[in-house]
């Protein structure tokens, strides 16, 4: 009788609360805490253009974004995930692939870039064509030579999964799956990929010292490279031509694809040099495999190249000693705590 009474009271409580909250059976063992998903601006970094306005990262949103990032269902034939072209050990670039590799073994037209410090990027992609971080994932997911996945089909796939319904509900309050929620959760995950703890960063903070070679390399860097690869992000986010020969097959117009201005032909975004030793091959089409090949290019720039950046008119000449010192410095830009950060690993492995 007593049990019956209690049941009745329980029904009453349930009824008056209007909303029947299902118990959340998902108990995650990933140990993520609020602190793990707090967005912090590292000391010395400027204010980022993307501020997570209306998309404050939460443990649940980050967890959902991470699951999506590693999920091959995002591609048309369930063969590739974001992580296939953005590998953590390569600072989320695609090591050893000059051009990104999509469904049906198709090749894209550009080198998949590393992912870190993305909220600071005013324009995404090599040509800056994507002007808001939140719509960035739309491009690779739907690009016919990348994942080739219409978003409504992706939403249908995710709706068929109880696990995803629970993850969306945990992240956004109900289990409705929309393009905005997919994109926002992916951005919560990728947007927290901050790389600011390399040896170089520790040196700037006075926490460590550089070797003689690294120190000399930093001086070379500051006199010959830092006008474009501006510290501390190591890029000024500008679009410039560094005098590469135009690939006869790809015929990539670069920034002009977006602006349709002849003055932007063959210009590409200056990439950050953070983690550079981990992100080969180099350039927008991955044409160079080693830093030495890059140095060779800068030493032999053809000054008559259309739209060649004025600072490169005379190329960049380095002695072999200077090359080795510059490389020693560039190696200090590898952020081991970032490329080993447990938060960013595939949760299923």
């Amino acid at each position: 009788m007593k049990t019956f009474l209690h049941t009745g009271l329980f029904i009453l409580l349930l009824a008056t609360s209007c909303k029947v909250d299902e118990p959340v059976p998902v108990v995650m063992s990933d140990g993520l805490t609020d602190a793990d998903v707090a967005f912090n601006i590292p000391a010395g970094f400027p204010s980022p253009p993307y501020t997570f306005f209306g998309n404050t990262p939460t443990v649940e949103g980050f967890r959902l974004g991470r699951k999506l990032f590693y999920d091959q269902q995002l591609s048309r034939d369930n063969s590739i995930s974001c992580a296939d072209c953005h590998q953590q050990f390569a600072a989320f670039a695609n090591l050893d692939h000059p051009l990104s590799h999509g469904v049906d073994n198709q090749f894209g037209v550009r080198n998949s870039p590393p992912l870190f410090n993305l909220p600071w990027m005013p324009g995404m992609m090599w040509d800056g064509g994507v002007t808001n971080f939140e719509v960035q994932p739309f491009a690779p997911i739907t690009n016919p030579v990348e994942m080739d996945q219409p978003i409504p089909v992706l939403i249908a796939k995710l709706n068929a999964s109880n696990e995803y319904k629970l993850l969306f509900k945990a992240a956004f309050g109900d289990d409705s799956i929309t393009s905005a929620r997919i994109f926002k959760s992916l951005v919560q995950f990728m947007g927290l990929m901050t790389s600011a703890n390399s040896k170089y960063d520790q040196y700037l903070k006075g926490q460590t010292t550089l070797t003689t070679a690294e120190g000399n390399g930093l001086n070379i860097f500051r006199s010959k490279c830092a006008s474009c690869h501006v510290e501390p992000l190591l890029t000024d986010h500008s679009f410039r031509s560094n005098g590469l020969n135009v690939d006869a097959i790809l015929q990539d117009s670069g920034r002009a694809t977006i602006t349709q201005l002849a003055s932007d032909l063959y210009k590409f975004k200056v990439p950050s040099l953070r983690n550079v030793s981990r992100t080969w091959p180099y350039m927008h089409d991955g044409r160079f495999n080693t830093l030495d090949e890059v140095y060779d290019h800068y030493a032999t720039i053809d000054s008559t190249k259309l739209n060649l950046d004025t600072v490169l008119r005379n190329g960049i000449q380095l002695t072999s000693l200077e090359r080795s010192e510059l490389t020693a410095f560039l190696n200090t830009l590898t952020d081991f705590s970032f490329i080993n950060d447990q938060r960013f690993k595939d949760p299923d492995y």
Binding site: M1, G8, L9, C18, F53, F133, V135, S179, A180, F183
Partner: protein
């Protein structure tokens, strides 16, 4: 025991009542003079003087080139109504996360051709202006929903921004090998900014919004105007545009595409 039975009876009888009253959200309004009403913009798609019939209709542009239309979709936003006293009312939401005031009209979805503006203050309205497309702010505001969902087919993923208007079709005079016509008009940055605002004239008519009167403004949307004045579009040389200078030409053409035919006040 007796008490317990009473308690159970109480729960069984009263609980549903509590539930039903506590969950009711929309209470009946008391009868007071209405201060707001609705207003409808009814878009009537035409080519020259015929109704637009997708795929099967055959039309002629100003240069005598024949064509058919398979798609005609566009955004209407930033609607501003002008009262007879000259005051204006902006139909928009200050909330960047809301799509209120952004309407995607699709010629193959009848319901989208009736743009219903709700919560309009009672009054006499003698003018309207709106943007064909989406303002620059919303072009860079991230992942949005509803009419502004980037997956509606009206958003460029590789050069992000909304496609303001799509006209697709076929013409034997098209320079394309498959005879196609593809005009995707968009772009919000100079020099190729295609945001255009229009103020179709009411011709002296008034839309009288009352609590029990929902005016319908019948707007003829003359698709052929996209292809002429100030610049005739020759399909043999211009059959494809996705932003850029050619899109600017077409956007300049379609500024006179919207014509208020008449207004019903009922």
């Amino acid at each position: 025991m007796k008490f317990q039975i009473k308690a159970i009876i109480f729960i069984l009888l009263v609980a549903p009542v509590l539930w039903s009253t506590s969950c009711k959200k929309d209470k009946e309004e008391e009868v007071v003079p209405a201060t707001i009403g609705d207003l409808v913009l009814e878009m009537n798609h035409m080519v020259n003087n015929s109704q637009l019939t997708l795929n099967t209709g055959s039309y002629t542009n100003a240069l005598g080139q024949t064509f058919s239309i398979s798609k005609f979709d566009y955004y209407v936003s930033n609607i501003v109504l002008t009262k007879t006293d000259g005051s204006t009312l902006s139909y928009a939401s200050g909330d960047i996360n809301s799509d209120k005031g952004y309407f995607l009209v699709k010629s193959n979805e009848a319901a989208t051709k009736n743009i219903r503006l709700t919560g309009i203050p009672v009054g006499d309205y003698s003018g309207i202006s709106f943007t064909i497309g989406v303002d620059s702010t919303r072009n860079v505001s991230g992942a949005q929903s509803g009419s502004l969902d980037p997956t509606n087919g009206m958003f460029w993923s590789w050069n992000t921004g909304y496609i303001f208007l799509k006209l697709e079709g076929k013409s034997n005079q098209s320079g394309a090998s498959d005879s196609s016509l593809v005009f995707h008009i968009g772009g919000f940055k100079d020099p190729n900014n295609t945001i255009r605002s229009v103020s179709p004239d009411f011709n002296g008519a008034t839309a009288t919004v009352r609590g029990n009167v929902t005016p319908t403004i019948h707007v003829n949307v003359k698709v052929n105007e996209m292809l002429t004045s100030p610049e005739d579009i020759d399909f043999s040389s211009l059959y494809f545009s996705m932003g850029g200078a050619n899109s600017v030409k077409i956007a300049n053409n379609y500024r006179d595409m919207f014509i208020v035919d008449h207004i019903h006040n009922d």
